[in-house]
């Protein structure tokens, strides 16, 4: 080790911001910018709502093309009826304050789709591969719908009451600022959990 090394510990308070990082050198009291995307239950419901409407419009206005694209063998009328159902569910998801019933409605619709596909799988021997692929896709969507509905249910239950305030639960004999560093001697009992001397920054030796 170099004997002439600086032995004082640098205080981050005196650190200059990283080069090119001046945007971070601001008071730490204010919140950062809101996140661009959050998958909250509301966001998931909205996403599924738009998905429902897009699928419903396709089924309603272009049943034949939709059937070919998705590999399902429903009759035109049945596919259009399912399209109306999808659009109604989508509108419900996008406009309702409580998305839960509409999410469970989507799950029920998924079950109906799977039942129809299963019947198709049994009766139609020509396009079994297409039908099986469609079933796998619907199962995936079903899993997402169930998860979204369950997440919404839990969040609704959790937020039914105002949050508790535990700001009086310090858990220490004195306020945190007065407890800071009170246990530093405990580090002596954990040498294997400390950075080896040779690997420490020179300034910490």
């Amino acid at each position: 080790m170099n004997e002439t090394q600086n032995t004082s510990i640098p205080d981050p308070a005196n650190d200059k911001p990283m080069t090119g990082q001046n945007e971070f050198d601001k008071p730490s009291s204010g919140p950062a910018k809101p996140k661009a995307m959050q998958l909250t239950p509301e966001a998931m419901a909205k996403g599924l709502g738009w998905f429902s409407i897009a699928l419903g419009v396709a089924e309603l206005l272009a049943p034949k093309a939709t059937a070919q694209a998705t590999g399902v063998n429903y009759g035109k009328n049945l596919l259009q009826a399912y399209g109306v159902r999808e659009i109604a569910t989508g509108i419900g998801l996008l406009t309702s304050k409580d998305p839960q019933p509409w999410l469970w409605g989507r799950v029920a619709g998924d079950a109906l789709d799977l039942a129809t596909l299963a019947a198709d799988l049994v009766s139609n021997s020509h396009k079994r591969r297409n039908t099986a692929m469609a079933m796998i896709a619907v199962m995936g969507v079903t899993a997402l719908d169930v998860w979204a509905a369950e997440t919404a249910r839990r969040e609704a239950a959790r937020t039914a009451q105002p949050p508790r305030d535990y700001s009086d639960r310090v858990g220490m004999a004195l306020p945190p600022d007065e407890m800071r560093g009170k246990a530093r001697e405990a580090m002596q009992s954990a040498q294997d959990l400390q950075t080896p001397s040779a690997l420490k920054p020179y300034t910490l030796h």
């Binding site: 510990i9 640098p10 205080d11 981050p12 650190d15 200059k16 911001p17 990283m18 990082q21 945007e23 971070f24 050198d25 601001k26 730490s28 919140p31 950062a32 910018k33 809101p34 996140k35 995307m37 959050q38 998958l39 909250t40 239950p41 998931m44 899993a143 997402l144 998860w147 839990r154 239950a157 959790r158 949050p163 508790r164 305030d165 535990y166 700001s167 009086d168 639960r169 310090v170 858990g171 220490m172 004999a173 306020p175 945190p176 600022d177 407890m179 800071r180 560093g181 009170k182 246990a183 530093r184 405990a186 580090m187 009992s189 954990a190 294997d192 959990l193 400390q194 950075t195 910490l204």
Partner: protein, 389 residues
């Protein structure tokens, strides 16, 4: 006797099971007076940990009164009040002699299974899958404690169960997480998860001298408790964790990061969480490592990642390149509880710390199944549940 038993995913029952008996001369039988539901119990409840069997008795955070001791047990006597650490250790193997109690080489009755899954066995644990020995847990009226002449911590008179119960798990777990950070007085310590272990990690980091402690969670009640313990709080549903941490550290990142979340990080606030949840659903991934990714990304180069959060199996999309190139140190493991219990018990006796601050719900053992749901869904402001027989 009555006990809380696992019967499958989201299915915990208050059952009648046979009373435990002394099976080895070093054993003791404990009459449980208080036990707790731990966050890691939720991994069993949610069905994410393999190796559970129907009827397994749950629980690894418990204490009570000694009812019976084996003939070779010279440490305990009938009537002693003890807290039982969740790690079962022999005190004699090489790892125990080094103080690495959570990787004791002899107490896992299913060593062969653990050898296959993890490469080498770890210690036996109470109520935590057959991978760790299949020992009956402490959410029961009576508990058989193997190697009871080693780990159980005798409690002096004058201390309540609520003050000392958490010496068996979450207090030393939070403490070890902070100690593993090798905290310097100039450090910022960021703690992901303000659940019970996170709360103890926050207070431990303060007491070990961190200049700044930051807690990351989404639940207002948890964040209010974290703030009470001295943390600056970040609600990840309201602001960007990365941006806020950069702000608080002048763009340099926290020197020390603690993952007090583990394998079930919240899955709906980030794209990668959704990805992990989908892979988990079809068994292509066992754990959700969003917190690990975020810690690696935001940690100051040459910093330390301390991981007390439980992981059970496999993860992917871990930014190994960032981990390596930034020169980060990773410290993790189940808690070597008995390394810390003497010191922490003394701190409780001295009044320096009162761990009961974290208890929000107390209920009877019979109400356990319902309390699992309350705790899992964070209902009614629930942070920590204590159960009484």
């Amino acid at each position: 006797m009555k006990a809380l038993c696992w019967h499958g995913k989201k299915d915990i029952r208050y059952d009648t099971v046979p009373d435990p008996k002394i099976e080895h001369p070093r054993d003791a039988i404990i009459k449980m007076t208080s036990c707790a539901i731990c966050g890691s119990d939720l991994h069993l409840f949610d069905g994410f940990m393999p190796g559970m069997e129907k009827g397994d008795v749950m629980g690894h955070e418990f204490m009570g009164e000694v009812m019976e001791v084996g003939p070779e047990n010279k440490k305990l006597k009938v009537g002693d009040k003890v807290v039982v650490p969740f790690t079962i250790c022999c005190g004699e193997c090489e790892q125990c002699r080094r103080g690495n109690f959570s990787v004791c080489e002899t107490t896992n009755r299913n060593k062969d299974l653990a050898d296959k899954v993890f490469g080498h066995t770890t210690a036996g644990l109470f109520g935590y899958t057959h991978l760790t020995g299949g020992y009956a847990g402490g959410q029961a009226e009576f508990v058989r404690v193997p190697f009871a002449d080693v780990a159980p911590v005798k409690i002096p008179d004058g201390l309540s169960d609520e003050q000392v119960l958490f010496l068996g798990d979450i207090f030393p777990t939070g403490w070890q997480a902070a100690v593993a950070c090798d905290i310097q007085s100039t450090d910022t310590v960021a703690v992901w998860g303000a659940g019970p272990v996170g709360q103890f990690a926050i207070r431990s980091a303060v007491m070990l001298g961190a200049k700044q402690v930051i807690a990351i969670d989404r639940l207002p009640e948890r964040l209010s408790m974290a703030k009470a313990g001295g943390a600056i709080t970040i609600n990840f549903e309201e602001e960007s964790v990365i941006e806020r941490l950069q702000q608080l550290t002048k763009g340099k990142g926290p020197e020390k990061c603690i993952d007090a979340v583990g394998m079930e990080s919240h899955a709906t606030h980030a794209i990668d969480g959704l990805y992990d949840r989908a892979k988990q659903a079809v068994m292509l991934e066992t754990d959700r490592p969003h917190v690990l990714r975020e810690m690696i990304y935001v940690c100051r180069p040459a910093g330390i990642l301390s991981i007390p959060g439980v992981y059970g199996g496999f993860i992917d999309k871990l930014p190994m390149g960032a981990l390596m190139n930034k020169g980060l140190t990773v410290r993790t493991g189940q808690t070597h509880v008995n390394r810390w219990t003497d010191d922490l018990l003394q701190r409780i006796v001295d009044g320096q710390v009162d761990p009961s601050f974290v208890i929000t719900h107390t209920a009877s053992l019979e109400q356990g199944p319902e309390m699992y749901k309350t705790f899992r869904d964070k209902l009614d402001g629930c942070i920590k549940v204590v159960l009484k027989p």
